[in-house]
């Protein structure tokens, strides 16, 4: 693995034909064929850490593309201002999210060297959105990193306009990797266990791992929630999972 890459901000066509800002990372390894990943940023937005994730995928041989889900509300704004605006407005509508991921996946499939396989990964609110996208679009592998409100209703008083989406599970189009923290309350281990049971009942392939000593956002290296052991093992599971479903 050369770990060479190029990264840049581009515009893609998202939901409703809208032009949406996105961050693209492409490996510089010269591989003739490669898989791709749509990265769904966490609730704090299209920020520096999320862009690091895109570059990490590119450094490891995957073309990766992350749409700025808050671009419509806050074009050109700093990520924290954009996230505050999106939060006050109730968050990202599910249909818009699916359209933006679809646009990103189409863009990735059209890149030179694409093998046609596209995975999706999301963190925090993006974990739920990763599941939503995998139940709404034809994808090849999905990763849910501590996404809540898939099975359980949102907490009382939550302003985000999201509903449980476990009823979409029969439509899950690809294998699902779930990475969770045992100390997290949203999603709590009970919620992810329910999701696993539903997927078992449907015969949907999935691999869930819940890390002791970790809570929400344990992948976020710039936050006190970061848990190196869980994050390092989690990344290894991601490489193994995508290696099986996106590159073979």
């Amino acid at each position: 693995m050369s770990e060479e890459l190029t990264a840049q901000t581009i515009r893609i066509t998202g939901f409703g034909g809208d032009e949406v800002e996105a961050y693209l990372g492409v490996p510089g390894d010269g591989a003739a064929s490669r898989g791709s990943v749509v990265v769904i940023h966490h609730m704090p937005g299209y920020d520096t850490w999320s862009k690091e994730v895109v570059r990490k995928f590119a450094a490891n041989g995957y073309a990766a593309l992350m749409p700025n889900l808050y671009f419509r509300e806050a074009p050109g704004a700093s990520p924290d201002d954009a996230a505050a605006t999106a939060r006050a407005n109730g968050g990202v509508p599910d249909g818009r999210l699916v359209g933006d991921v679809a646009g990103a996946a189409d863009y990735l499939r059209a890149l030179p060297g694409s093998n046609g396989k596209v995975g999706v990964i999301g963190y925090c609110s993006g974990g739920r959105q990763s599941f939503l996208a995998a139940c709404s679009l034809q994808l090849d592998a999905a990763v849910d990193c501590y996404g809540a409100c898939i099975v359980n209703a949102p907490p009382e008083g939550m302003p985000l306009k999201v509903e449980p989406i476990v009823d979409l599970a029969p439509n899950l189009s690809c294998p699902l990797l779930g990475l969770f923290g045992a100390d997290d309350r949203y999603p709590a281990p009970e919620e992810t266990a329910k999701l696993s049971a539903v997927l078992d009942g449907l015969g949907k392939p999935h691999e869930f791992r819940t890390y002791d000593g970790a809570g929400h956002a344990f992948f976020a290296v710039d936050r006190p929630a970061y848990r190196p052991e869980a994050a390092t093992d989690g990344w290894q599971k991601i490489w193994d999972f995508y290696g099986r479903y996106l590159t073979s």
Binding site: M43, P44, E73, A74, A77, S78, D80, D81, A82, A83, A84, T85, R87, A88, C124, S125, A148, P154, P155, G157, M158, P159, L160, D184, R185, Y186, G215, H216, A217, R223, P224, A225
Partner: protein
């Protein structure tokens, strides 16, 4: 965890942001992950004017203890002046 809970209120006043003073129309209050403070969760307040765009915002991220102390200080300050001034 992401608590997601958010209180939105209408306010009247002014705040000073990156581009100077501006009028405030909204405040968003929530206890969740901070952007900058080195704590897992903080009480966050966004003083905003949506009509001025996303960057018309003054943000603070306070530990729970600090937030409670601030709330008490605000109440104490308001209580210490003649009622006619703050009615």
């Amino acid at each position: 965890m992401c608590t997601y809970n958010t209180e939105n209120i209408a306010i009247t006043g002014s705040g000073k942001g990156a581009n100077g003073w501006f009028s405030l129309s909204d405040a968003t209050v929530y206890f969740d992950h901070p952007v900058h403070a080195m704590a897992e969760h903080t009480l966050n307040i966004d003083f905003r004017n949506p009509a001025g765009g996303p960057s018309a915002r003054v943000a603070v991220e306070l530990t729970a203890e600090s937030a409670r102390a601030l709330a008490a200080a605000i109440e104490a300050a308001l209580a210490s002046v003649p009622a006619a001034l703050v009615s």
